[in-house]
Point group: C2
Chain length 221, copies 2
Amino acid sequence: MSDGLARSSRPAGSAAVSIDLVLVTYRDRRLHVRAESGVNKKGLMLPWGTPARGEALDAGAARIARRTLGATPAWIEQVGAFADASAHPGGSSLSVCYAGLVPWTESELWRDAQSLTMLGGRQRRMVTATLAALRARLEQAPVVFSLLSREFTLSELQQAYETLLVRRLHKASFRRALQAAFLVQPTGEWRSEGRGRPAQLYRYAPRKRKNTRRGVRLDQL
Amino acid sequence: MSDGLARSSRPAGSAAVSIDLVLVTYRDRRLHVRAESGVNKKGLMLPWGTPARGEALDAGAARIARRTLGATPAWIEQVGAFADASAHPGGSSLSVCYAGLVPWTESELWRDAQSLTMLGGRQRRMVTATLAALRARLEQAPVVFSLLSREFTLSELQQAYETLLVRRLHKASFRRALQAAFLVQPTGEWRSEGRGRPAQLYRYAPRKRKNTRRGVRLDQL
DNA sequence: GACATTAGTCTCAATCTGAGACTTATTCGC
DNA sequence: GCGAATAAGTCTCAGATTGAGACTAATGTC
């Protein structure tokens, strides 16, 4: 039973619609999500808005993202529609959730993705669904590269993958796969991060390569 | 610019919402989608409905699927929300699309998934998105098994995979992978399909097995 | 009974993978 | 300045995985 739908005085099939964003960034082995304090200072809420007249959903999501971040996310994609009983900060009964990925920028508004218990039920579910969707999409779209700044070290890249996958990867294998996929290009510059040998900087620069279609994987079913 | 939204006289952010189903089945190396003739006998339309008061989206989709098929689909999952300018048979401005998978049953209403040009623009996009989503989900959820009847031969199973992936698979490799994944169980019965050696019948019966986590695949990026 | 047809199996070479050790380059503590 | 600590980047190797293609098995057709 959807409180939102029941509460409204609209005809059945008509609903107050919101567009909600899960803006994700990565830093230091942690994912962060943009959230600010809620309507009446109680709890937190995700950035959200309402589709303008005649505005497509994607365009609306991009607009709200720009309003929130001051820039368009490196990657944005719809996660799905959510309409459960739990309340929405704007009182909408149906929310279309979008994931937006951006490189880290300094801000108070990033919250650790783990500790988002202060979100409302619907928005909390959206965060969970978004993170699951990102993990599932990892191998099909440049999700991880959208989370990093334009130049990054291979260790950073690997750590970002490890964070999203919640498991460790083998260094040599990871780099071998990366090399075989022609995904990155060294910039020629190096970054010295405190102690240890300086790391080569890379840039995401995917190049065409022959389609290596392999058999189906059935082991996750 | 969304005609649907612009046309309506509702306040911004309020929209007529529909739930649209892409009911998919498989037979004989072909995918089929349920569609019937449209509102004024013009063109085709997907089964759709309107969320009931206080009804969750998933529940609504299941209800419409039952109404259409007389039974609950083997698998049902949301594909996403669609709200573009193109018209919807019910005039809704926002449609939440669900994919529903069922084994083949004889009916006039199945249309070849390729030749659905007579659908409206929005619903045509939904079909495309659904098929893409199914292909992407193939390795994470028992998509293919939901398309087949309870008992099937391994050749049928492989052909269904080949249809969804739009490429051939190697017989021995496919069976090896299947065996390693402990996904199916022979029923002990055999089916003689005209000429050729009879095939053993199998049933989908996934068994627990140790998590074989492999490195990331980067070659699809 | 020969042949076409489909199911199911087997072998083998090539490729891919993960473990772990190894080399290189830098900072830190003294 | 020097050795230890630390992190980047490379290498080797054995074992697992893969695809090609041949091979055997069981059935219907002529």
